[in-house]
Amino acid sequence: MFISVFGYSLWNPVIWLIVFVIMAVVVYLFRSRGQEQYKRDTEQTRVFLSGEEVPGAEKVNIRAHNIYWGFFETLKKYYMVLVKPHTGIINDYVTWLVLVTALGAVTLYIVG
């Protein structure tokens, strides 16, 4: 099914919006059949950690550098190679510009 031929068809955003609205209505119906005695900011809503003391918000919050640790550990070698050229030194940036332009010019001269 190609969009250029058939238009967005199933990917039409209006269809997605209608589906989202229907799902939102279904979710609301499920929630409305929940516990009526539920009250916010009371003992009912306190976090329970098997009787342990609950740490403060600062300790509970997951920090950005902890996220995807496994991904970065697996690709350690890739990142070692990738990060190396990003020296932050402007001389290196200029070298890249000149070398890539020269390489491209030679390629075009030889290949056409």
Partner: protein, 523 residues
Amino acid sequence: MSTLILHSPILIIAIPLLVAFLIPLVGRASEKARNTLVISALVFVEFLVILLARDVFVNGIHVYTLGAVSADLTVPEHFIVPVRIILEVDGMSVFMGLITATVSLAAAIYSIAFMRKETGRDNFYTLLMLLVVGMFGMEFTGDMFNLFVFLEVASIAGASLAAFRLRFADSAEGGLKYVVLSSIAGLLVLFAIGLLYSQYNVLNMAAIASFIQYTALDKIALMLLVGAFVMKLGGVPLHMWTPDTYTVAPAGVTAMLVAASQASMYALFRTCFTIYGGALNLMTVGWIIIIFGILSMFIGVTMALPQTDIKRLMAYHAISQSGYMLLGVGVGLAVLGNPEALNSYGITAMIGSIFHIMNHALYKGLLFLTAGALFYVTGTRDLNKMGGLAHKMKFTTVFFIIGALSIAGIPPFNGFASKVLIYESVYQFSPVLSIIAMVVSILTLASFAKAFNSAFMGPELPQYANAREVPKSMIIGMAILASVIVFFSLCPGLVIDWLVEPAANALVNQGLYINTVMGAVVP
């Protein structure tokens, strides 16, 4: 109204230029008067761009010859080549003009509150207007040397704006990197223009296109231009300045630097499709651009993932998204000489990429503005120090979600609309390239899920107990971009039919571009 439309190309460039020089005078009288002048000028320019766009899409290419008896007198009597500076606005130029106008307006409104605590605001708005002048000039000009001039105007204004907040040590470094690399890129462009002028004795783009023979010197000039423009748009491996500069610039300025990088991308496409066109080795040059695209996509997103500085993360994503545009247009260029392939998937690839240019300018601009909002409230860009901000910054959270889902290519947002066109068309050219593009989208979603979780999710942190939503002008600036994104998301077909497809056809139709200026003159 017809006079306004006739002179609109030069007015769109001249009005911001005039306002840039008036700002220091008006700013002495009153800050409110200065802000009103800036916003009014940009609103009027937006109106002019819309008028011009309508004229171009209905009546065809709009030429404007500076200093001539009539605006469409491109080749004077007794001459066989154009001798004046000509502004030639086709579908692609005016498409880029719409992006520039919208992003500039949103960024200027946003900056009213964001820059309130900074000193030297008159200088800031003067430079902002000069950056706008540079961008419009690059997009509308039909003259190579004029392109160089406006490239330099945009580069210097952009670098000055990036380094504006000198109280931060890294601001000067970011601005310096941008200005040094832009100067060298400008010199490469000037050298290329010199090579072309020495052979063909003309500077007009249409005239060069009609004379070009793809000699050895032309090949060197092409690579000089490609290298310079790829560096300006932040393409890998010439991208390293991008995170350094985008991170330190004020948020509104970063959004405009993104739009400026798209203006450089436009210059690259104009060079390849219009100036060189069918003369060059389409498959070779097409693959060079595709390789730049693939490298940008993959390296951009993998470098973004480990970042904990939110603006640096977004800057790497800007590099990655530029890769999609290079990929699609590269495929279009590679099959330009093959009518069957061009009609089957080439034009679709170009439509997807050109649509992606506009979508990217909008959602990346929005994301940088939300990053600015986070910095405004928390005083830091470090995601490790943020958390639970969704409790206090509801508008910013919603705008971030819109931007993040768009950039990740999640339906029904506009990012998906352009990406699916690129996936489908590039798949027919090479399935591997399309699969790489899809993997990059998944990694983009992962990256923004990380950023969203770190900044907005989780319990309220005690240090942000007194945090509040950002001022109204910043919300309005973000809302302008978000509402355009939502509109594009709901009506992608409309945008493609009215804006994108004419732009793609304008790029492909080199003959019409040449004939509009050169007419029936035989060199």
